[in-house]
């Protein structure tokens, strides 16, 4: 069986994230985004590749949306209301609450833009959201009998989640956008150690390593402060949600500390309304914000008020948050046209702007003029500050996550081709994990895990329960230095040689069975064939002197078999370390090795040539089982080296 991943969007680019994964017969669509840089059919994923007939309900098991950014959810109302998908849709509670605001904001921008045809209506958005099932973090959701999904905290924006999906024995994780370091209002991504066939990860900053976030935030605050002190206006184009709240917490806090009175505006009532959602969903923010909510909810901004269009050309400094981000149109573009020509003013841009947007044009080089549409050109004399902190993980974070999860395969999406290829190389060479970065509309197939399920016999289970295991608990602390906190799984791993006492029986017609080797023959109805080893070893009696030799008849009764064995035990104890030697009357027992004094002159096990006559030597007959062959050889070589002395017997 294979897992097939059809990349419909965000393949070697950022925008319209959409991956359709076919795993053991279940087809899951991860994200359903739109591309901000395109205004034609390319803005949406090519859904016809899922089903030629347009019967999406039978070709998809479910849709999973990771977060409310338009490049992840922008095409959803179109897909459900225009294309007619009616199946289940899953997203986290905050995403379900906040996505309609994002979509509505975007819809307005589209309609406002001249000549733009409406892709979906407000009612479409509303109807679409009704089909959504909200999920909580870590909650295991049974989509159907075979498909299980689970969300993990991803940082990035409020409600962003990585999704785990499992069908049968195969499992994958799709990360969406994530952040491995906590910021002012959100925590860091967090996931369990999972057994994965595949990890599909974003790779926006696949080659960037970022330093301290606080220094970068400082730069931003300094730039804003400098601008307003000089009487300038600051335009912060953002999307209604996410970055807006993060920067607002930052500014509100700074204003409070510096006792600034310059007004901070939000462009539409929209973003203020979003703050209400943030207040209710505060459990999805960072620990610090969460802990403080009873005394003061961090989203109760003190210095923020709403903006009126008439204030665009009002004198005096101000800070304005305006939608949409990247200045792709709408109100932020309108304000941009008014404010960009003045040197005093400041425009902040996010770390990433999609190609085709005004934001992207401003970032590439230092343009003095920008064409905002076919017949409008704007002079740009204001300062541009590019925010260097981003809610995306950097290369180290991606490598840490891949290393932590150690999936069998990695697919990279949501990034630029050169960076992705560099990262792909690192994952393969440093972590030894096969990885891919397919382009849009390509399919990657990887093998899926399948378990043979075998019934374990009680005997074997009892044996493998005995307490001489080496326990190794997975150390969840080992990754703590990465700033990334995995939740402990507590798996108990058992290393035991006696695993090899188990025997797997696979019958074509019956369920597989695992039994203990002792039961195995009984099950077969066969009789065990005992393999034994024997060797009769000659040990010369040295140091005995002639006197004794003449009185052999008198001496031998004194030095009886027991004495010889006792002597031998002492010698063996010195020679063999860590072996339990037991004297059992007529023989010595070492594991399965049995040693006794041999009085049979015709003993068949006297294989070696004998060069001493009977009275000069004592014979020890040894028998053992295959398991103790190396030990037995050790015993025999010890025996051979021995010159047994009877001197000791006088003491005994």
């Amino acid at each position: 069986m294979a897992i097939d991943c059809l990349v419909l969007g965000a393949g070697q680019e950022v925008g319209k994230s959409c991956v359709v994964v076919n795993m053991n017969g279940k087809k899951i669509m991860f994200d359903c985004g739109m591309h901000m840089g395109h205004h034609d059919h390319q803005r949406y994923p090519d859904f016809s590749r899922i089903s030629r007939t347009g019967d999406f309900d039978s070709s998809l098991t479910c849709i999973i949306i990771t977060h409310f950014h338009l490049d992840h959810i922008g095409a959803l109302p179109y897909f459900t209301e225009v294309c007619g998908y009616k199946g289940p849709i899953y997203m986290t509670y905050p995403t379900k609450a906040l996505a309609p605001l994002m979509l509505e904001d975007y819809r307005k921008v589209m309609v406002d833009r001249r000549g733009e045809e409406e892709q979906f209506t407000s009612e479409n958005i509303e109807e679409c959201m009704k089909k959504v099932t909200a999920v909580d973090l870590k909650q295991t959701v049974q989509v159907d009998k075979d498909l299980q999904i689970r969300a993990y905290y991803a940082g990035h924006v409020l409600g962003a989640a990585m999704f785990y999906a499992k069908v049968g024995d195969s499992a994958i994780v799709y990360t969406g956008d994530y952040n491995m370091t906590p910021d002012r209002h959100l925590g860091a991504a967090q996931i369990d150690r999972l057994h994965l066939d595949l990890l599909i990860s974003e790779s926006t900053y696949g080659t960037t390593i970022r330093d301290s976030k606080y220094a970068r935030e400082r730069e931003f605050l300094d730039a804003v402060h400098k601008c307003v002190t000089n009487g300038g206006k600051v335009l912060i184009p953002t999307f209604a949600l996410g970055r807006a709240q993060e920067l607002c917490i930052l500014l509100d806090d700074y204003w409070e500390r510096m006792s600034l009175k310059v007004p901070i505006y939000f462009s539409a009532g929209l973003t203020l309304q979003a703050n209400l959602y943030y207040k209710v969903l505060i459990n999805w923010t960072s620990q610090k914000v969460k802990d403080a909510y009873t005394t003061r909810n961090a989203f109760d901004f003190k210095h923020v008020c709403s903006f009126d269009r008439s204030l665009i050309n009002a004198p005096g400094p101000c800070v304005l948050f305006a939608t949409p981000g990247m200045i792709s149109g709408g109100f932020s573009l309108e304000v941009f046209k008014h404010w960009a020509p003045y040197e005093k003013n400041l425009i902040t841009l996010p770390g990433y702007c999609v190609a085709g947007t005004v934001g992207h044009k401003l970032m590439s080089g230092k343009p003095t003029k920008v064409n905002v549409d076919r017949d409008t050109q704007v002079d740009v004399r204001c300062k541009i500050h590019q925010l260097s902190f981003s809610p995306h993980t950097d290369a180290k974070g991606i490598m840490d996550l891949v290393n932590f999860l150690s999936p069998k395969h990695v697919i990279l999406v949501h990034g630029e081709k050169p960076r992705m290829i560099a990262l792909q190389g690192r994952i393969q060479s440093e972590l030894g994990i096969q990885s891919f970065c397919p382009a849009n509309n390509e399919t990657v197939s990887i093998p899926s895990t399948h378990y043979v399920k075998a019934d374990i016999s009680d005997t074997l289970r009892r044996h493998s329960k005995c307490p001489n295991f080496k326990f190794s608990k997975t150390d969840s602390g080992e990754n703590s230095d990465t700033g990334f906190m995995p939740t402990p799984l507590n798996p108990l791993q058992v290393f035991d040689d006696r695993v090899t006492e188990g025997i797997l029986c696979l019958d074509r017609s019956k369920k597989a069975k695992v039994v203990h080797q002792d039961e195995f023959l009984g099950m077969l109805g066969a009789e065990k064939h005992e393999l034994q080893f024997a060797y009769c070893c000659q040990v010369p009696i040295g140091n005995l002197g002639n006197a004794i030799e003449t009185e052999v008849a008198n001496v031998l009764p004194v030095i009886d078999n027991g004495s010889w064995l006792h002597l031998l035990t002492g010698k063996l104890a010195i020679e063999l370390n860590d072996v339990n030697i037991q004297e059992c009357g007529e023989h010595i027992q070492v594991e399965s090795i049995s040693i006794s004094v041999c009085l049979n002159d015709d003993c068949p096990h006297r294989i070696s040539e004998t060069n001493l006559n009977k009275s000069e030597a004592v014979y020890f007959c040894c028998t053992w089982l295959a398991a103790d062959e190396p030990l037995a050889r050790n015993v025999i070589s010890t025996l051979r080296k021995l010159e047994l002395s009877t001197n000791l017997t006088t003491a005994g």
Binding site: K138, K453, D455, L504, T623
Partner: protein, 673 residues
């Protein structure tokens, strides 16, 4: 598997307490306190005036005894109550268990948590505690409230009685009225040991640190062996049922559950699919027939697996249950309460509501405010509790734990509960205590007050009831209790109107209609029930590619392939896996082969010859019936000897390499693995 019922509980405020022994692990379900026991104590302020004489300190011994004896004969009055700092009644049978023997504790509701600090502070306690996030948070608040109210009691009571266990002495107990004595020592006289002085705030903190908070349907793994999951029970915010999945099968624990709720998340029946056994723990509040017998809890281990039910079966059942007009009844009940409230306020009386159910409080807050608004009455609503602030703030940030209608409020941009707006326009006010300065400033009557404690022995409820108990226009709204007569004792004579009502809890009797193929077993309190294994064999997962790798041979003349296991066993998420890592290759070498079958000396000789080993066979005809001994003498390349007799072969060489070669030849002539 063994199930022991430590206590069958007494409804919502005192849920059942059970211990299940599964896969060699002991799992404790809930650790509640029986706070109804508080009613044997006299509340603050009632011992000072009229009953002062009853204090033994001021009377001579004999007089005192006389007085008390007389009282036993007379009908109960407030002086019969124990005038002492209250003790708290824990689950008696839990004391019989060594705390260190418990491996896992699961907490189903905030009420099931109140006794937990007693357990966690014991020496040797090391169990893992699981509770939902909301239960943990609310439970902590309830415990803190209890500690604060108790501290207040102590403060007001003063250090008067230093030997606070005075009342527990036998001679004192003998003088108690029989009603109270029964509560103290239990019907069988064994329960005196279950009374404990309250834990401290530090104990609560310490206890909370040991709790692992879970989301609904989050898989928590204990020791790799048990997979534990909390599923919404619909009763209250954060309350849950449990499924515990181990290598030997899946057990579901059904606590007090509700199928309709207008605050908490709906009952989640999905998790019960695939259960091998369901324990129905709580039947104490059955209203059918009212004859709650000793066998009120029971378990249903099934011979035919419940997992055979399809999802549709569950859906149909759950839906048919939802049709019960439970929901409607609740709605009517609440609106009736509101009407009564308004009537009282209109007639100038105040309303005190000492109910401990968060869900009910939140709904009543909204509805009473609406009713007041509709009737154009400006009476204020107060919530007075040490944790009121935090409690109400918390309820407004937990959409994930609430029912669909509440979540819809969030999606449409409203707050989850109406109290947020009520607080904003100051129609609702929160105060930590009755004697806070702020309260005195804004106090006006008539008013509606929500406050603890439902036992009417602790908290603001005591003082308010004392204030209003003689006012026939005022109203007390309380839950149906076991012994309201005893509860009211200190407030008599009462002319205040009393409205007692019961709210949904427990499990309705719907199980027996499930399926006739399910075997049901009842388990009485204080007894242990042995449950036959639900699954005989447990499963081992072996990666298919590994199977291919280790499969060594096919059995002669059979369709079976066999292989010796290698790698290591991993117990994870209640399932056993065989995993194989490259670096384990060396360590998992097979120690020795297992052989079976018989040797043919001639074939063996041929095999040996192919290896360059030469010798001859000497047949030794032995005694008649025993098998014949065959001896093979090897001369080249070294001297060796092989004796074969039936299924026994002895090899004799003086060299390891020679032995290895002969073994190889023998293995190729025998079946072996």
């Amino acid at each position: 598997m063994r199930l022991t019922s430590l206590s069958q509980g007494k409804g919502f405020y005192f849920p059942p307490c059970q211990i299940l022994n599964i896969c060699g692990l002991r799992v404790l379900f809930d650790c509640p306190l029986d706070l109804s026991g508080l009613s044997i104590f006299s509340p603050i302020g009632f011992d000072e005036e009229e009953y002062k004489v009853s204090s033994c300190n001021e009377l001579r011994e004999s007089e005192c005894l006389d007085r008390k004896r007389q009282k036993v004969e007379k009908p109960l009055d407030a002086s019969n109550l124990i005038h002492s700092e209250p003790y708290y009644k824990t689950v008696n049978d839990l004391h019989l268990w060594n705390a260190s023997f418990i491996d896992v504790v699961v907490i189903s509701s905030y009420m099931g948590m109140l006794g937990l600090p007693f357990l966690t502070r014991q020496k040797g306690f090391s169990a893992k505690i699981y509770a939902t996030e909301a239960t943990a948070r609310l439970g902590k608040l309830m415990m803190e409230d209890l500690v604060a109210m108790h501290a207040e009691f102590r403060q007001l009571y003063g250090p008067g009685e230093s030997g606070c266990t005075q009342w527990m002495k036998w001679e004192e107990l003998d003088m108690l009225s029989s009603v109270i004595k029964d509560i103290v020592i239990g019907k069988d006289g064994t329960e005196l040991g279950s009374w404990m002085p309250l834990y401290s705030a530090a104990d609560v903190m310490d206890c909370m640190q040991k709790v692992q908070a879970l989301k609904y349907a989050e898989e928590a793994c204990y020791n790799g062996t048990l997979l534990i999951m909390a599923l919404s029970s619909g009763l209250e915010i954060g309350t849950c049922n449990w499924t515990i999945c181990g290598p030997k099968g899946t057990v579901s624990y059904l606590s007090s559950s509700c199928f309709v709720s207008s605050t908490s998340m709906d009952f989640d029946y999905h998790g019960f699919q695939g259960s091998d056994m369901i324990i129905y723990s709580d039947f104490t509040t059955w209203k059918s027939g009212n004859d709650v017998d000793d066998y009120s809890s029971y378990s249903a281990p099934s011979t035919s697996k419940l997992s055979d039910f399809s999802e549709d079966d569950w859906k149909v059942r759950a839906e048919s249950l939802l049709k019960l007009d439970e929901g409607e009844e609740e709605v009517e009940k609440l609106s009736f309460l509101c009407t009564c409230c308004i009537d009282s306020i209109k007639s100038g009386g105040s309303v005190v509501i000492p109910i401990g159910r968060l869900g009910i409080i939140l709904q009543l807050l909204e509805q009473i405010a609406d009713s007041l608004e509709a009737s154009n009455i400006k009476a204020p609503i107060f919530v007075i509790s040490y944790v009121a602030d935090e409690l109400l703030a918390y309820t407004n940030i937990i959409p994930e734990w609430l029912c669909k209608q509440r979540q819809e409020r969030m999606y449409s941009g409203q707050s989850l509960f109406g109290h947020v707006d009520l607080l904003k326009n100051k129609r609702l006010r929160l105060f930590p205590t009755l004697h806070s300065l702020e309260l005195l400033k804004s106090w006006e009557e008539p008013c509606v007050v929500f406050c603890p404690h439902w036992s009417m022995r602790l908290g603001p409820a005591v003082h308010l009831l004392r204030r209003w108990c003689g006012d026939p226009n005022s109203l007390l709204i309380m839950e149906d209790g076991e012994d309201t007569e005893l509860a009211f004792l200190p407030f008599k004579p009462m002319t205040i109107k009393v409205l007692q009502c019961s709210f949904l809890s427990g499990i309705k009797q719907y199980i027996p209609t499930f399926n006739t193929s399910i075997s049901l077993k009842y388990f009485p309190e204080k007894e242990t029930l042995c449950i036959p294994k639900v699954k005989t064999a447990s499963e081992l997962n072996i990666a298919a590619d590994l199977t291919m790798q280790i499969l060594s041979k096919n059995l002669k003349h059979k369709e079976t392939s066999i292989a010796r296991l290698k790698g290591s066993l991993l117990l994870e998420h209640g399932k056993q896996h065989l995993i194989f890592q490259k670096n384990q290759e060396a360590s998992s070498q097979t120690k020795s082969l297992l052989h079976w079958g018989k040797l043919d000396p001639k074939d063996l000789l041929v095999s040996l010859q192919k290896m360059g080993i030469n010798g001859y066979v000497e047949q030794e005809n032995s005694d008649t019936e025993s098998e014949s001994l065959t001896i093979m003498h090897i001369s080249e390349p070294r001297k060796a000897l092989i004796e074969m007799k039936g299924t026994n072969t002895v090899i004799s060489t003086d060299d390891e390499d020679m032995t290895a070669l002969i073994c190889e030849a023998i293995s190729s002539n025998l079946d072996c693995i």
